[in-house]
Symmetry: C2
Subunit: 121 residues, 2 copies
DNA sequence: ATAATATCTGAACAGTTATTCATGTGTCAA
DNA sequence: TTGACACATGAATAACTGTTCAGATATTAT
């Protein structure tokens, strides 16, 4: 149905229009770009990274996390919420405690890769 | 000199204080956490990712980038500025054009890793 | 029940960020 | 020189984000 939509010609300055159109095909589509951006953003906060650095060692409850990173329990809870929504952490409830842990080690590898990358420079 | 600073005892709820102190040693220090957060944040914007996805293919000037991603040249220039400050892209000037390219392929690998990670779920 | 503990939640506020707009700089062509 | 083009920059505005605060929920102990 909506194939061959006549879009405006791309007004380029150095490359031919045809090449520009081809590159537009390579272009990361907006929705995926948005999802990736949200993922990276979820790692784009120092306190969330600090929390993750602890959870990389062992599972911890909110109160202990808060005590160790020296943040309010509320602030930690809010941050865990966003980490949870990005599936970076999961949790189990035990009595009145909630223990959080890394959801998988993909994240840890990413974290380590960037840590090393920044040391290089 | 400033070793053995007597800090307040950590008031934990489930783990012993001693363990909490040990974990505090494992904790990502604030300055490094901040640098890592800035790095991840620089990837935390859909338009910047889209720009990077093009530069992953080939070097491009600002005007062509703007035309392909359909943003104003000013907006693209601002974004390139932050990518440049994070050493994600570099550039060369040629006449009145400025050609940007990925600074290294570390970034590309990171980008690809996350792209795949998000496809998994 | 009541109180204390552990966590979560929503509103509010401050700080940050991305875009637009107007303007400035540098390069090329006529 | 003049004008057009490519890009950069600063200010302003709107949207977003992280924290605090007050209060809600749920669990355990008394």
């Amino acid at each position: 149905m909506n194939q061959a939509v006549a879009t405006d010609p791309i007004s380029t300055c150095t490359i031919p229009t045809q090449q520009a159109e081809q590159l537009q095909g390579q272009l990361l589509d907006i929705q995926k770009a948005q999802r990736m951006a949200e993922f990276f953003s979820s790692l784009g906060d120092a306190n969330r990274l600090r929390i993750l650095s602890l959870l990389a060692e062992e599972e911890l409850c909110v109160g202990d996390l808060a005590a160790i990173v020296e943040m309010s329990e509320s602030a930690v809870s809010h941050q865990l919420r966003t980490l949870k929504s990005m599936r970076l952490v999961s949790y189990r409830k035990q009595g009145r405690h909630v223990f959080y842990r890394l959801q998988d080690h993909h994240v840890l590898h990413l974290y380590q890769a960037v840590a090393e990358h920044l040391d290089e420079v």
